[in-house]
């Protein structure tokens, strides 16, 4: 069907005449065109840079880079987080060690007790400690309570008071011990290994100065009493000094006794919830990668919000320029 049939049949004759008289290219022009040869294709892989292919290619590339970088960052952070997780889980692992290996099995704890708050052997010190450990169930609570009582006795100490209760699924055992100060470290190390250490408090107070002061006062008082006994001038004062000496001796004995025995409060509770399990490396990788992707999405949205109006203006400008060029071409062809 001729295109003219779509317009009007009355132009058929006109069209036939126009077609019949179609200009033919002269021989010289034909020879010029025949002499043309397209450039040889480059050896390297030709990349078609047409916009309609370039835009999706760039979009896919950017998406791949975004996902790839998120994955790499996730993997790297997941790996580096591994050591942190191990460090965080150290106390849990350590607290499950047995009592028999307490000296060598609690490096983290020993750093606190032995190096930091170790009682000085050449000084009189008051040592108070309180620990709170969590065990899994009531059975373990009972066992650990008995262990603590036995250990206190074995170390030469004694139980001041004990409160053991298991109302429902929970339960607690509150124990107060007096442990010889020379063995308190072993006791604390053992108690902290009974379960997960929840809290720990150690208080150290120096009593040496107080004891020395008492000793000096006792010495002075004894000298004074000896002098009064020799002269026999002031029996009232002598009697008062003897009473005072008795009080000072009692205070000194009490101070020395406080420095000999450490007070240790142990609370063993049944844990209502399990200790938080550190996330696996896969979970950390997924989390980190997801965080990076979300961050990238935020940046993309931010960029769109910022650059969107400019992009829109640019597109509108390009469309206007294209329309203006078409109108210009149209006017040019109308004049020609």
């Amino acid at each position: 069907m001729s295109p003219l049939e779509l317009v009007d049949d009355r132009f058929d004759k006109l069209a036939q005449e126009l077609r019949a008289a179609q200009p033919v290219a002269p021989v010289a022009l034909r020879e010029r065109v025949r002499a043309l040869e397209p450039k040889a294709p480059r050896r390297r892989l030709a990349i078609d840079l047409q916009l309609r292919r370039l835009v999706p290619a760039v979009a896919i590339g950017a998406l791949a880079v975004a996902v790839g970088s998120a994955a790499v960052i996730g993997i790297v952070h997941g790996s580096s987080g591994h050591s942190t997780a191990l460090h965080a889980s150290k106390p849990t692992v350590l607290h499950q060690r047995s009592l028999g290996t307490e000296k060598s099995s609690f490096p983290a704890y020993r750093a606190v007790t032995s190096d930091g708050l170790k009682p000085a052997p050449d000084r009189l010190q008051q040592y108070d400690a309180s620990l709170r450990v969590r065990v899994h169930d009531q059975e373990e609570l009972s066992k650990r309570t008995q262990d603590a009582l036995r250990l206190a006795r074995r170390l030469g100490g004694y139980t001041v008071w004990a409160n053991y209760s298991t109302p429902t699924e929970s339960g607690a055992s509150l124990l107060q011990f007096q442990i010889p100060i020379g063995r308190v470290q072993a006791a604390i190390a053992a108690f902290s290994g009974y379960g997960t250490l929840i809290s720990q408090r150690i208080r150290l107070k120096d009593l040496q100065r107080q004891a020395d002061d008492l000793a000096a006062r006792i010495h002075r008082l004894r000298v004074e009493i000896a002098s009064l006994e020799r002269t026999g001038n002031d029996p009232v004062r002598l009697q008062r000094d003897r009473a005072r000496l008795s009080q000072l001796l009692h205070a000194r004995a009490s101070t020395i006794k406080r420095a000999q025995m450490a007070s240790v409060a142990l609370a063993i509770v049944v844990g209502k919830k399990k200790a938080a399990v550190p996330p696996s490396r896969f979970d950390r990788t997924i989390d980190d990668a997801g965080s990076v992707l979300v961050r990238e999405l935020e940046i993309l949205v931010y960029a769109l919000v910022v650059a969107g109006p400019l992009l829109l203006l640019g597109l509108m400008g390009a469309a206007a320029a294209r329309g203006a060029r078409r109108r210009s071409d149209r006017r040019l062809l109308e004049r020609a």
């Binding site: 295109p3 126009l18 077609r19 065109v33 025949r34 040869e37 030709a46």
Partner: protein, 176 residues
């Protein structure tokens, strides 16, 4: 590998270009004759068009249209560049052409009647180009619209008006 094969399949080489140039040379030349209304200019522009086509031959994608349509697009672009350059030159020299000079020898075809020849010369380039594409080269409205950068409807409308005007000019020429 499949992608490379596909590219090589749609990217013709030198031999194909020579065949396409030989096949469509007359069409492109005729289109430019109608567009410019000047044979010598049309010849120069035809040579320029094929030179451009030769340079861009690797970018030609047969899936987006026939080679004839692509060549006509290039020819039109080349002609528009020529018109712009001429326009600027005329402005510089301050001597605008007053209408199209009467043709002393046939421009649009040796076998055309003098009345039709004169009528064609009185049409604008915009009117002649749509006649060339739709009537002389017998392109469908979609291809012609693609060359002209307009819709098929606009192309048909423009063709109808051009034919009407041509008929009027022919009738006026015969009456005179």
């Amino acid at each position: 590998m499949t992608r490379l094969r596909r590219i090589s399949a749609v990217k013709p080489g030198a031999q194909e270009f020579a065949e396409v140039a030989e096949r469509h040379l007359d069409d492109v030349h005729a289109f430019l004759v109608y567009l410019t209304g000047d044979r010598s200019v049309a010849e120069e522009l035809t040579a320029e068009t094929f030179a451009r086509a030769c340079e861009r031959w690797r970018r030609y994608d047969p899936r987006r249209g026939s080679a004839r349509t692509w060549l006509c697009q290039l020819a039109r672009s080349t002609a528009l560049d020529h018109f712009r350059a001429e326009d600027r030159r005329r402005r510089r020299e301050e001597r605008y052409a007053v209408g199209v000079p009467e043709a002393q020898e046939p421009v649009f075809g040796e076998e055309l009647s003098p009345a039709l020849e004169r009528a064609l010369s009185r049409l604008s380039a915009a009117e002649r180009e749509v006649l060339a594409l739709r009537v002389v080269l017998d392109l469908d409205s979609e291809s012609a619209g693609r060359v002209l950068g307009i819709s098929t409807t606009a192309c048909s409308t423009r063709l109808s008006r051009a034919l009407q005007k041509l008929e009027q000019e022919v009738s006026a020429g015969v009456a005179a």
